[in-house]
Amino acid sequence: MVTILANGFVPESLAECLELKAKRSLTPYAGGTDLMIEEDRGGQYLFLHKIPELKRIREDDDNLYFGAACTFTELLESALAPAILKAALSRIAAPAIRNTGTIGGNIGNGSAKADSALIFFVTDSALKLSGSKGERLVPIQDFYLGRKKLDLQPDELISEVRMPKKWLSKYDYQKIGARKSLAISRLSFAGLFAEENGAITHCAVAFGAVSDVIIRRKDLDSLLIGKTIPDAKAAKSAYIKAYEEAIVPIRGRVSAEYRKETCLNLLKDFLNKMGI
């Protein structure tokens, strides 16, 4: 049953929620930790916290599935959430924000500073978008069209994140911020790596908070994939050079040059840790 308020709706199923979204112009409200600090809070909210379909955490043979309205704390407490995701979530703000903020809100806010989104980029996760005409699955890289621009129709919601299970075990996560808790990350890095019989089978890196959109370049990472460790060592400087060209920082609170240099240092540290 939908609870109706003066300027908000609280549906209790995804079907009710999508029906409302199709008919009216409503702002999805998950945890509110981004929405409540906005200057203009006019309009009507569509509250997502009572929709069981958006709170589910499950798995099948190949993938993990996280409901968009799961809070950071719920994922930190889940046995299914992988270590790389928990590494990022545990460093978000303080308990009260982690108890409230959700992954759907983190992605839906459209910021390149979003710490959980960084992990969804590096793991090549896909988003399930649900709308009045059905659902579609979009790789998270294609979902971000530009600064605060998302591939999301007015009748659609992010309903689930699908994360492939393969390649999750060997990871690196770094967040460089002014303070440990609070303060949104100034810069963040995540990497995944795998080798088998001396050859690199997987390498993926992503940079948050440096550009308009989180940076993930599969084409560059393919420079290392398939190589032996000695061959990768030989290709290392070309790989770093490629990222030096690919990272175009926006001017923020911390100077653009500092951001770029830090990114490259984090990349070098990652390669060192992986034995390259």
Binding site: A6, N7, G8, M36, H49, A93, P95
Partner: protein, 158 residues
């Protein structure tokens, strides 16, 4: 009933028919006169407005009223009536952990949330648990000590 919602406020079923986008903080203070809920920043940074929502610590300034539909909210006024509060109150007093007092309602509710999750927290876990609750006066050490004492003296309560 149209255009209204119910929630449990300090144990009492409460009907609310105002704005869904209003801040829980403002509604608690202005409509329900629960002024133990303090306003320090309205940006989620200070924790003075902390309340317990369905067993978890949240910032009431970051919470719109629609979010509490069907949920339970506990403020310091409700928490004061519990045995657990008495143990925390005694522990805070024993090490003079309160100075101006502005952060204390939030700090006490954060203490409750630390102990309800983990009855025997380490010092590091206590510091992490209050990391979103800022205090201008005490330098935190006395507060951390007080929570440790409450865990010991109030053994069995959590």
């Amino acid at each position: 009933m149209a255009d209204s919602m119910t929630f449990i406020l300090n144990g009492k079923e409460t009907v609310y028919s105002g704005s869904a986008t209003a801040r829980l903080l403002d509604v608690l203070r202005n409509e329900y006169n629960l002024t133990g809920v303090k306003c320090g920043c309205k940006e989620g940074e200070c924790g003075a407005c902390s309340v317990i929502l369905d067993g978890r610590l949240v910032n009431s300034c970051m919470t719109a009223m629609g979010r509490v539909a069907g949920s339970g909210v506990v403020t310091i006024e409700g928490y004061r009536e519990t045995e657990r509060f008495k143990a925390l109150d005694k522990a805070y007093a024993s090490v003079s952990a309160v100075q101006c007092g502005f952060c204390i309602p939030g700090m006490v509710l954060a203490s409750e949330c630390i102990l309800s999750k983990n009855a025997h927290p380490t010092e590091e876990e206590i510091r992490e648990g209050i990391s979103g609750n800022l205090c201008r006066c005490t330098g935190y050490n006395a507060i951390v000590k007080a929570i440790g004492i409450a865990a010991k003296e109030g053994d069995g309560l959590w």
